[in-house]
């Protein structure tokens, strides 16, 4: 028995170490690369005021789809925020996905909705649409009332009714910045091969918001939220500097995606799965390759979408569990893409990346974290080994995280007070104590629970996005 364990431990160490070294090296490289940005930036004093002058007088239209379900208490303030965007030509399509509360009535009352016989063409099949409404007060607002079908179904309905060539879907409690919209639509205009673009997601929890604008950026209050902020910061900083340059590689998992409508219809919209956005992008990839359509899927670091993240451990666990199952579902459904040269970089690099790092990663991590106590229990723990493990897996990670937080702050976002930054840094030291293990644990077990998934009715009270 002991020798079996011995053997297992011996071989597995390789995996664990290689994994941590590989991932951490990657992060380190990104950090060093962004250091270069900082160096360039520091040579010049950025005068933002005059950037305003260059704001384009020409806009590009975009449809923003907002699926909602049972949000009677918050929908009005959320929408009012979205509607204050100073963007000349856009529409906000709110899709009421068969709410069982008073959401629809609240909408009708607060936005002077009026039912119209606006033609609804079912390009993508959805659950029954009961009515389309326009707002007498807000010419940019359109509301679709339909039977419940799940978030993906609501977005599909939104796509059906949208009138502009590009769209994005966000939650009602997310905030977009005006500059983001301009930047997004520009990208599609400048290059006609672009079929999808992804922007950055930042954590809204804790920030001061007034009338749809984030006026002060603060770190969130609860630990669970803070840990997520750190996580997002690290992930997106890496995304901005490295993956952003490797175009068709990124599968726009999470972030927030902006897509071309015509292609969305060709791939029949969103699928009934848990990993909606990622699945959508992957199928888009496949469609374009299979139909020999020249395409680009890019990641643009400028547009920012501020999102509410789960504020309790329980909802966080549920979210990550869902993400995990979604990831597996997407990988399985599109498995033929992996290591398939037909799908070029996405198949040869992107997919393998997702399998090895995103999928296997948490499993390896989890085993890694469990390994130490196990070794100790069996008296196999060598202090030298433990130290090295600590350095490679933990300390390195902490330094990287702190570096990302600092870099992010210097390059991209300004926290209102340094105390917030210190708070984030402090929490970075404790990420490995509990947070990382928890996530690895959830991911690990969700992998096995995947079999036992039950679909059916997906009642959501908070729409969540995959990352």
């Amino acid at each position: 028995m002991r020798s079996v364990l011995h053997f297992f431990l011996f071989t597995f160490q390789y995996f664990v170490f290689f994994y941590f070294i590989f991932v951490n090296s990657f992060y380190t490289l990104s950090l060093l690369m962004s250091f270069r940005f900082l160096f360039i930036r520091s040579r010049s004093i950025v005068d933002e005021e005059y950037e305003v002058m260059l704001q384009s007088e020409m806009y590009r239209p975009i449809s923003i789809i907002v699926p909602c379900y049972n949000e009677e208490k918050v929908i009005v303030s959320n929408l009012k925020s979205l509607l204050t965007l100073h963007y000349p030509e856009f529409e906000i399509i709110v899709v009421n996905d068969g709410s069982t509360d008073n959401t629809m009535q609240v909408l009708i009352d607060n936005f002077s909705l009026r039912k119209v016989s606006r033609p609804y063409q079912e390009f993508i099949h959805t659950k029954n649409v009961k009515g389309v409404y326009i707002s007498l007060d807000y010419p940019d607002l359109v509301v679709v009332d339909k039977e419940n079908g799940g978030r993906f179904d609501a977005v599909n309905a939104g796509i059906n009714i949208s009138k502009y060539p590009i769209f994005c879907s966000i939650d009602s409690d997310s905030l977009l910045e005006e500059k983001s919209l301009l930047r997004i639509s520009e990208v599609f205009l400048e290059d006609k091969e672009v079929v999808a673009a992804g922007g950055i997601v930042r954590v809204l929890n804790g920030c001061k918001v007034r009338e749809g604008r984030v006026i002060e950026v603060h770190a969130p209050t609860k630990a669970v939220e803070v840990f997520q902020t750190i996580e997002y910061t690290r992930a997106f900083l890496m995304g901005r500097t490295t993956l952003g340059n490797l175009k068709a590689l990124l599968l726009i998992s999470g972030a927030f995606g902006i897509f071309r409508k015509d292609l969305a219809i060709k791939i029949n919209g969103y699928r009934k799965t848990v990993g909606e956005d990622m699945d959508f992008t992957v199928r888009l990839h496949r469609y374009c390759i299979e139909n020999k359509i020249p395409f680009k899927i890019i990641f643009i670091p400028d547009p920012v979408c501020w999102t509410q993240v789960p504020d309790s451990w329980r909802s966080l666990i549920r979210q990550r569990d869902r993400w995990r199952r979604g990831l597996i579902d997407v990988l399985l459904y599109n498995f033929r893409m992996s290591f398939n040269p037909r799908y070029k970089t996405a198949g040869m690099i992107g997919f393998p990346y997702f399998i090895l790092i995103e999928f296997l990663g948490p499993i390896i991590e989890f085993i890694g974290y469990v390994l130490i106590p196990v070794l100790w229990i069996f008296g196999l723990l060598n202090t030298q080994f433990a130290i090295i493990f600590f350095f490679v897996a933990i300390l390195w990670g902490i330094f990287i995280t702190i570096g990302s937080i600092l870099m992010d702050n210097l390059l991209f976002i300004r926290y209102e007070s340094l105390k917030d930054v210190f708070k984030l840094i402090l929490f970075a030291f404790f990420e490995f104590v509990f947070y990382k293990e928890l996530l690895a644990f959830v991911a690990f077990f969700a992998t096995f629970r995947f079999r036992a998934r039950k679909w059916g009715h997906i009642p959501r009270k908070k729409m969540e996005k995959t990352v």
Binding site: R43, S56, R114, P119, K163, E186, Q384, L410, V421
Partner: protein, 363 residues
Amino acid sequence: MYPVFLTSHYFRSFIIFTLFLLLILDSVLFLYLVIDKILTERREKKKRYSREKFTEIIASKMFDDELLLEIPKDRFSYEVVGDLLLDTLRNLRGDFANKVQDLLRKNGYVEYFSKMLKSKRFYIRGKYAEKFGFTRLSEARQPLVELLKVEKHPYVIKKAVFALSFVFEIDHLDLMYEKISEVKDLGFKYVEQIFINVIRRIREFRNSEKGMRFLSLYAKLLDSLGRRALFEALGLEKVYEAVPIIAGYANSNDPLMRISVARALGRMGGEVSCNILKQYLKDMEDWRVRAVAANFAGICDISVVSILYSLLFDPEPTVAMNAAQTLLQFGRVGIEFLEKAKRNGIGLASEIAKYALEGANLA
């Protein structure tokens, strides 16, 4: 028992080296952040205070005939006041603008900006070139032209051409064109802005022929993105003289180009424009061209109504909706056609017609 590499000296050195590197990096960043924050806050506070102080002063001074302003000699306040004055020029024209420009002249800003144009740092040259342009002073012309003649850095060229577009003389167009073509990757927004400025000023020149020649040269040698930006700008500014130039691209293979042509001509009107739009209404290659043409077809004479009617049955709903909205612009005749479609009751077309008519009643 343990992976061989763990005991390797090189491996361990590598790890220690990397960690050490990161530690230093983090510490440096940390210090940088703290210092930067403190400095920035101080600077912002100073700036805010200065701005408030001078806002009151300047506002009241504008109504004095005697334009004496005590501008402090310290660099910081000088900049703040300069920026305030430039801000005003963004908002005001006429009498007040002239007063502000006088203030700028009298207080040495022309010399100051000219001096900055000679800076060794490219960012400074660019920033002040831009500011110089915002002054819209004729004195800015010569320094900017001198700068452009020798400038090699693309960032500065961009800013300088942009600046010059506020104050250029017709003879400078060739230089501007030449320098702009040296720069790769200009960006759509930026190009538009220059064009808008150029176009606005061209009309002031009595010799619009040279201006038009410039524009057609530009159009020929720009890439398609730049050309589209140019056309959109011309359309928005209603430069009717440019219609022949734009019409020359009406048969482009690129649907995006055809769309820009449609939008530009649609904003300007006229017989040539209308004929091209009519052609686009039948564009089979790309429904978006039909849609945009349908959107702007209101500029045409009544003969287009029958084409619009047939577009109500277009398989693309956007095309049909635009056609319906445009039909409303043709009064009685258009409404009759819409009623006809509504009565016919053929699926989407009928719904669209009904929706358009409803909309007209709501208004």
